[in-house]
Symmetry: D2
Subunit: 286 residues, 4 copies
């Protein structure tokens, strides 16, 4: 079946001119496309993110970690290394820079990310086998990039200078992240703050991802099935704390993350992070 | 970039053999793929559905309705006709026939669907410009098919024979559906039961859909952008009531459904519906 | 501190005349009281309920069960007997008989109830040590009666005649209830249908409850602390199935229900139930 | 009915000794009482709070404001003055100081509070006619004090230094609060930051409240019906910004807050607040 027209539009709005010269009236970077282009579940990149990250570097069984990596990704320098993130994001886009004001509900979310150390053509990074988020726009935006997002309720301790008995960031402060999905607690991670550190102490995270979209006519032939990496601009790290941590994956009828077995947290960080994602690169098509 | 292997697997599980002969270890019809293939957010079709439908046929401004139709879909025989559904589904798949028992949370959802009468090569049906659901598996399954799903809280009156003052299905019974998304009430529809009717009285619904998945390298070039229709098997309609109805779309900063203006409900139905979706057909690629 | 006026109002609305003769303008059976009396979180009784009940009679350690009973309640004839209910209710009141139509969200809820067999002055019944619900109006209405409600997400299998692979009520059908609260799965109960039965086969349930409201000036002196029973009118049972069941209480940092240990389900029922609660009786004040 | 024993316990746990000398085995400041006293929905005071407050002082029709005040509270010095708060709290108690770590879900909540200026015996403060929160423990704790809480989804803009296009607190920053309850948007309030200010610039808030608990035997005779005030210790205000604001109450089938009509925001503040509530005082019993 041939394409009957030409996609001509500027970067933020999908305008399509048919071969007949008729305009394609529906606009939007994503579904739902609509006459004014306001209804789309997510705006086009660049996508901006700022938030606080509970970052737990862990070690798990090397064989179990290997099983989570799709070819052509290879295990990283330390095949046992993984990272668990609990994050709380405020996000924005160039197309709707005011979104966090107009509708806070459509700009905030929490997520729990499991990462496995890997490398591709000698460049190390992390593959994301599992990730849960608590809002729809980020779920779909994630799928576009290759984050295998599901909905989960993510709870993260918040420190506050003025809450008696809790207090703000300081040595001895403790934070925990909990992820519940499908009516079960799935992931837990925690950290006790020890001391402040430098942004350069935080291990950088490069994401390797699987983009996948099943076919509808023949379900054994996906329309998209490829390994990609995110294109990240302007990462900023601030207000870094290091400490000791713990992590636990809970058994579940459906989730397989607990197959990793017991894990040991080797380093724990809590910091503020700002990034912009401008798109991604396809590294491998199956 | 060439594909480096062969997709060989049986219908329900994605096993991939690399050119190197190495198995692709991750399984799943959808993301997240995992070693045992249990973690995927949704199983492969056939997808089974059974539930109760509040079906409101409405008329709206023909020009506004036309603006919601992507080419090559053309307006239906009555260009003013649309349908609003509020449904509560119990769903299942062949791959996990026990799912509604093992984890009810992953088999039930409610949705609100807006449809616009259309035709393609002389076959009439309905295009779905807007749809909201309240669970993640159906959101993602919908995207695969071309339903432009967002999350919404969907509330629907339930009748029950044993609730005093409410009662069961009978003449005079009243049901209402409400859809809230993005912190706003977006859609409302209601019906007052008048009399029982035959399954053949219910207008059949054939879905025309837009499948769309943005590219990640060049965001103006979608990886998928096409018009499809669902492949529906074994529709069963039962316990049909007809009556009079009302519908209202509420203004919102983001949703455009209220641009349809005031609508008039011409027919109202409430019935039980069972269907199986086995996949779809791509009708047009842009 | 003396009372400065007189409560004079009719049964459904709280109108208060001050000693000064000035009307107390705020109306409502419950907070929030408001000028028009529409804002109250719950209407006055009679409260009507209709829904479907998964009823699991279980046996647990007699000593553990005894520890859950406040005096003057005494263990029931079988001190090991308890009941677990998962229910889905449609509720209504005389004051707002149309509520389930006008706002379905304010008339539907699911709950998980744990009951311990007991007796008071020779009349057997069940004390409710723990209960979780998923909506606010029922939480507060429960507190008024003495149900110690917390919020929980309650998931219950729904059977539907038209869902392929699931189907409706029949021998072999299986339903499960799951209760999640405080980010943890707390209770699970399930049943496999064996055969239909008579309404008279269903063990009746009389509720014994603790009404408690802490004092605000001296927190060791509750304003209310008493044992009560519900006044239930017109119970109707229909569409009864019996079968075999299972139940499990999960450990939690906060909930103590799992202290009951392993329990054995002795009888499992699934049925429709309609009742009206018109108030209660105070049996004992501490 | 006489009380048959004596309440003897220390401040944090309810132990009751029967006349018979038998201990009352169930512990807890609130329901559900349990053998180990861990299950109660809320711990006893002191309750600690710290969080960020969007504080909008507004003026509304004096007559409409008056109608919201129960006797013996009298209108405040400016009978048109009200306050709208959107707050995000981290809370803690002496009994479970670690709660925000062990279970973040049970220590965080957001709320939307409407206040009406009033006075009692010459002491000015604010009566709270309406308030919505998004968690159960605070709903019940609120009822104990006289806050007429309902559940609502509360969304508040979060500023973050590292989110591009959003940024942190600075002149020109904009925040909005939205409250949705009963499937409707009910309250909206927003502020544009202009400049930093002193803690002493923030108007203090003293709460006047109605404690109410219906009777169960005769529903026209409440067990508790009184006017109280909160006992607040150690208020701390920090990081104050002032600016200009807007507020809007939306019409609803049930809520009456929109009966206030259009309101004008006279002053807008955003600040961090820490307080401890140690109980309350009953000012008037009806």
């Amino acid at each position: 079946m041939a394409r009957h027209g030409q996609w001509t539009d500027e970067i933020t709005r999908g305008r399509f001119v048919m071969e007949t010269g008729e305009d394609f009236l529906l606009k939007g970077y994503s579904l739902p496309m609509s006459p004014r282009g306001r209804a789309a579940i997510i705006d086009p990149p660049p996508w901006h993110y700022g938030g606080d990250v509970l970052h737990l570097a862990f070690r798990a069984d090397a064989k179990k970690m290997r099983e989570l990596l799709p070819p052509p990704l290879m295990p990283g320098p330390d095949p046992q290394e993984g990272v668990l993130w609990f994050t709380e994001w405020i996000s924005a886009s160039d197309a709707n820079p005011d979104l966090s004001f107009v509708n806070p509900e459509r700009s905030q979310y929490k997520e729990c990310i499991v990462m496995v150390s890997c490398q591709f053509q000698g460049v190390t990074g992390y593959y994301v086998p599992y990730i849960w988020v608590d809002n729809d726009f980020t779920l779909v935006r994630g799928l576009f990039q290759g984050f295998p997002k599901k909905l989960g309720d993510v709870y993260i301790t918040r420190l506050h200078d003025l809450t008696p008995k809790v207090g703000g960031k300081k040595a001895g402060a403790k934070v925990k992240g909990i992820c519940v999905s499908g009516a079960q607690r799935i992931v837990e991670g925690s950290m006790e703050f020890e001391r402040q550190a430098q942004p350069s102490d935080v291990p950088p995270v490069k994401f390797y991802l699987m983009r996948h979209f099943p076919g509808i006519e023949d379900i054994t032939k996906p329309d998209i099935h490829e390994i990609a990496s995110s294109r990240v601009a302007d990462p900023k790290v601030a207000d870094v704390w290091v400490g000791k941590g713990e992590a636990k994956f809970h058994a579940s009828e459906f989730e397989e993350v607990a197959d990793l077995g017991a894990v040991t947290v080797t380093k724990a960080f809590y910091y503020s992070l700002g990034i912009t994602i401008t798109g991604g690169e396809v590294l491998h098509r199956f």
